[in-house]
């Protein structure tokens, strides 16, 4: 709705604002990951912007882009009725260097959301009070929302019963086979990348 936000950001941070667009009326700014916290602080404290409601934080994974992981923050100002979407891109193909400054000190509401992004997408937040897994259990390895994590790789905490123990068949027919349920509209990268 308001080009104002983007303009103010550009005039204040200049080169740190890598790109902007307002498709579908969502003002979006892709910012330099190093400036993440500074920009957040500015958005919160500038009286004309006054983004007081921490709406959402999530990671979007683009395995064949560099940097790979896109962290998306949505903010809203209850007083000013405007929204903004801030994005920062971090991490190489192995998610090395996927780090951002935590903004919990600015919006306590991001506490759990940062934990979730860490848990699901594997982005680490510097200075977060306690950066633990939140949705998955501590024993879980990997980050499920990275596109390279297979959707059906389970890591059970309790050993499954065997069919002999149960004395009955336990294996269900999978609702989805390997590729079933995936519409062929997208012919994915075909499952076997060059082995070894």
């Amino acid at each position: 709705m308001s080009q104002l936000v983007l303009d103010k950001l550009k005039e204040r941070f200049g080169a740190a604002i890598l790109e902007t667009h307002s498709n579908f009326g969502d003002d979006t700014a892709v910012v330099d990951a190093a400036q993440w916290k500074a920009i957040a602080k500015f958005l919160r404290e500038d009286p004309a912007l006054d983004f007081d409601l921490p709406v959402d934080l999530c990671g979007v994974d683009y395995p064949n882009r560099l940097p790979r992981m896109e962290v998306v923050m949505h903010l809203y100002s209850i007083a000013r009725h405007h929204r903004v979407r801030i994005k920062a891109r971090v991490g190489d193909e192995d998610m090395d260097g996927a780090e951002l400054d935590s903004v919990v000190s600015i919006w306590p509401g991001f506490n759990w959301l940062e934990r979730e992004v860490f848990d699901m997408s594997g982005v680490r937040f510097r200075g977060h009070p306690d950066l633990r897994r939140i949705l998955m259990y501590p024993e879980f390895e990997g980050h499920p929302l990275q596109r390279t994590y297979p959707a059906d790789r389970t890591q059970p905490l309790v050993p499954y019963r065997t069919e002999d123990e149960a004395g009955m068949p336990l294996n269900k027919l999978e609702p989805f086979g390997h590729d079933e349920g995936m519409p062929f509209g997208r012919v994915g990268p075909h499952p076997h990348a060059e082995d070894n």
């Binding site: 998955m136 959707a151 790789r153 336990l170």
Partner: protein, 205 residues
């Protein structure tokens, strides 16, 4: 076994005709047990909404003597597993089941509890029977309360007969029973030999 043809039967006490004392006692026990099921509702997800409805006046679980919830596993003998069980929830479920006293029965309430449903992914246990034994599976996402009551009656029947093999709640009317009519409707053919083999296979003798 465990399909509705059994559950439909009027609840006679097995063994009472044969006149053996032991069977009589067992039958008596079963008869006593099946009307005083103390439930432990292990409610996690959507199905919990239907579980509420189940306790509400309209469907009134109390008619079956199974309404009293006990939130201590040690006091309960019927474990309702209502909703999706995530891998994280798994150990909790197992622990609770182990804490329950014999005799104990387990309901898999809804598709997620029975098979994992359409959550075929990294975090969902594909059916609680991967972790604990199940007595009655109730399909449905969530199952209608009527189906659950069917399941409850099926369980009561199983208890009365001392039957421990797992049972599944099936539709009262098995479509397979009607294949013949359907096909005849479609082809006006009276002799089953004309039916496709697949359909014939479905027809129960």
């Amino acid at each position: 076994m465990g399909d509705m043809s059994n559950a439909n039967r009027s609840l006679t006490i097995d063994g009472s005709e044969q006149g053996f004392a032991t069977t009589k006692v067992d039958a008596l026990l079963g008869w006593a047990r099946k009307y005083s099921l103390f439930a432990y509702p292990f409610i996690t997800a959507c199905c919990g909404m239907e579980f509420m409805a189940l306790n509400s006046p309209r469907f009134d679980l109390a008619r079956f003597g199974a309404e009293a919830p006990r939130f201590s596993p040690r006091q309960s003998d019927l474990l309702w597993v209502v909703g999706t069980i995530s891998q994280r929830q798994g150990p909790v479920l197992k622990r609770i089941y182990e804490q329950m006293m014999e005799p104990k029965w387990v309901f898999a309430f809804g598709t997620c509890a029975s098979s994992g449903g359409f959550y075929d992914n990294y975090t969902t246990v594909p059916g609680i029977d991967k972790i604990i034994p199940v007595d009655v599976y109730i399909p449905g996402c969530p199952p209608r309360p009527e189906a659950v009551l069917d399941g409850l009656m099926l369980l009561q029947d199983k208890i009365a007969r001392g039957e421990r093999r797992a049972g599944v709640v099936k539709p009262r009317v098995d479509p397979a029973e009607h294949v013949k009519e359907l096909v005849q409707l479609r082809r006006s053919a009276n002799d089953p030999s004309e039916l496709a083999p697949g359909l014939l296979a479905g027809v129960r003798k």
